[in-house]
């Protein structure tokens, strides 16, 4: 095999579904931390902080941000980064071990195609609004959320994203390494400026901007839930970034710096600014806290911060897309797939910019799905498979694989997913904020995650051995890999 062919195979693995070997993985601890931080810091972090300020005061808000994010991030990364970082597998290929090949495709469509297209449009519009705000700072231009400048800049952001992703992970690494540290510095300066204008004690004593309920506990739990939704929202993306990390530990710990630490820092800045200035719009308060020059610099960086987030989620979505339709999509050029995926987000930006205003509802709805997926992932990989996968079953033709389950779907995992989603909506309706008494004590994401995980574990223990599904290890077996010979377990 020539060197040229070896390079192509590595590139194919980076951009496709085959497992990346440890020697091919490009991100060390700090590089994955940069990628993670670049993913986490965007206008959405400031907006989530601002939303938290609506429900609770800054002291409770900081507590809600930390509690919600650490729980959401931890559960999302245990279920994705631990397995993908160990085996270097593409996240939705790994998902075949718990949902089956067709089940994994279904989850991909639900969690990635629909959500990523929505997120790309929302982030593109955030970029557009930042540029619009920037224009109003340096000229007499009046901001207009639905104006031509916002739509044109939003479209430009998606096209820039597509250009960088088309170049592959190496260009993403360069982009992240430059932008992420600068963003952290800018957020530190913002925090310094806010604390320069108001003492910490003053800030902590401020009330909520617009608490929706009389009960302090319910308002606090909604604030926690919004932040937990932010933590869980990384579930569809983080596994495919983690597989580029050199090993499992490097795939896990940087999440604490990036999608927990950097995101929480951005949200705290957004919370304090919103509470102190009474406005949750970063394009407004950034000029108020630092003056014109700092406002222009900060808004410019925050605008491009949206692009780094878009780059990371688009890359992971395209890698997943290649396992969706097998050889057909694998044969398509990477660049062509990237461009094709971006058509719908561009149309949403141009034809439905109102999606931006539904940002929070959109975010919390995603948690109903992501929390259940995380619960199923933890139950399956850690407790049922005991952290051992049979890679042959992941890649062999559907019907010959023990991971084929029933017609390519694992009904047990799908039942658990529906149950987790349903309990979430019963406990807390993201659309109306209507909630049950139980929600005020245990949130909605945690019960959804726990119920989905327990159901998946229990039903699998009872049904899988009888039906021959999934090649799960028996109770007395130490390892999940029963054998390396692919046998037919199809129950069609």
């Amino acid at each position: 095999m020539t060197k040229h062919e070896q390079i192509n195979h590595s590139l194919e693995a980076e951009r496709g579904d085959t497992p990346l070997l440890p020697s091919e993985r490009m991100w060390g601890f700090w590089e994955f931390s940069y990628a993670n931080s670049a993913l986490a810091i965007a206008t959405w972090a400031f907006l989530i902080g601002g939303a938290t300020a609506l429900f609770v005061g800054p002291r409770e808000g900081i507590a809600a941000i930390i509690i919600g994010n650490i729980l959401g991030v931890l559960l999302a990364t245990f279920s994705t980064c631990a397995p993908c970082g160990k085996y270097g597998t593409e996240q939705f290929t790994f998902l075949r071990s718990m949902f089956g090949a067709n089940g994994s495709r279904l989850v991909y469509v639900l969690a990635v195609v629909l959500l990523t297209m929505g997120w790309l449009a929302v982030l593109g519009l955030m970029f557009g609004r930042s540029i619009d705000g920037l224009g109003s700072l340096v000229s007499d231009h009046q901001t207009d959320p639905g104006g031509a400048l916002v739509l044109a800049a939003g479209t430009f952001a998606i096209l820039l994203t597509a250009f960088v992703v088309a170049k592959g992970p190496t260009s993403i690494k360069v982009f992240n390494t430059i932008v992420a540290p600068a963003l952290v510095v800018i957020m530190g300066v913002m925090l310094y400026l806010i604390l320069g204008q108001h003492s910490f004690a003053e800030l902590m004593a401020l009330p909520a901007l617009d608490a929706p309920f009389d009960s302090k506990r319910v308002n606090f739990m909604i604030a926690v839930e919004v932040n937990m939704a932010a933590g869980f929202s990384w579930w569809p993306y983080i596994g495919n970034l983690a597989r580029l990390s050199k090993n499992q530990r490097t795939a896990f710990w940087p999440n604490i710096i990036g999608i927990f630490g950097a995101a929480a820092l951005g949200e705290v800045v957004g919370l304090l600014a919103a509470a102190a200035l009474g406005n949750s719009d970063p394009t407004v308060w950034m000029t108020h806290i630092g003056g014109l020059v700092f406002g222009v610099i900060a808004l410019g960086f925050v605008a491009f911060a949206n692009v780094t987030s878009m780059i990371n989620i688009l890359y992971t979505a395209i890698v997943g897309l290649r396992q969706l339709a097998g050889a057909g999509l694998r044969a398509l050029k990477w660049e062509l797939l990237v461009v094709a995926f971006c058509i719908v987000p561009v149309l949403i930006v141009l034809l439905g910019p109102g999606i931006y205003d539904g940002f929070f509802i959109f975010l919390v709805w995603t948690s109903a799905l992501n929390s259940a997926l995380a619960g199923i992932g933890i139950a399956d990989y850690f407790f049922l498979r005991r952290q051992h996968l049979n890679l042959r079953y992941l890649y062999v033709n559907d019907r010959q694989s023990a991971y084929h389950f029933w017609k390519g779907f694992n009904p047990v995992a799908l039942v658990a997913l529906v149950a987790g989603f349903a309990i979430y909506v019963v406990l807390f309706n993201p659309q109306t904020l209507a909630n049950t008494e139980l929600f005020a004590f245990i949130s909605a994401s945690i019960p959804s995650c726990a119920l989905a995980g327990l159901l998946h574990y229990g039903l699998t223990r009872v049904l899988a051995p009888r039906l021959g599904w999934g090649a799960y290890p028996k109770d007395d077996e130490g390892r999940g890999v029963i054998d390396s010979i692919v046998r037919g377990f199809s129950n069609d």
Binding site: T18, P22, R59, I66, N247, R249
Partner: protein, 57 residues
């Protein structure tokens, strides 16, 4: 599986799977999360959640 590209992909996939099977059969998986990592993660989470709840609420 007919085309040259598919045959090459199958061979490459086999090489990669074998590499991981060798790791799986070894005594130690380099860079794997260990019990100390899990204990540290759980302790850190408990401290953050309980600490923030007591401080903030």
């Amino acid at each position: 599986m007919d085309s040259q590209a598919e045959i090459a992909r199958a061979q490459e996939l086999e090489r990669r799977i074998r590499a991981y099977e060798e790791l799986e059969n070894g005594d130690e998986w380099p860079g794997a999360l260990r019990a100390t990592d899990y204990i540290a993660i759980i302790l850190m989470t408990l401290v953050l959640v309980i600490g923030c709840y007591l401080w903030g609420y």
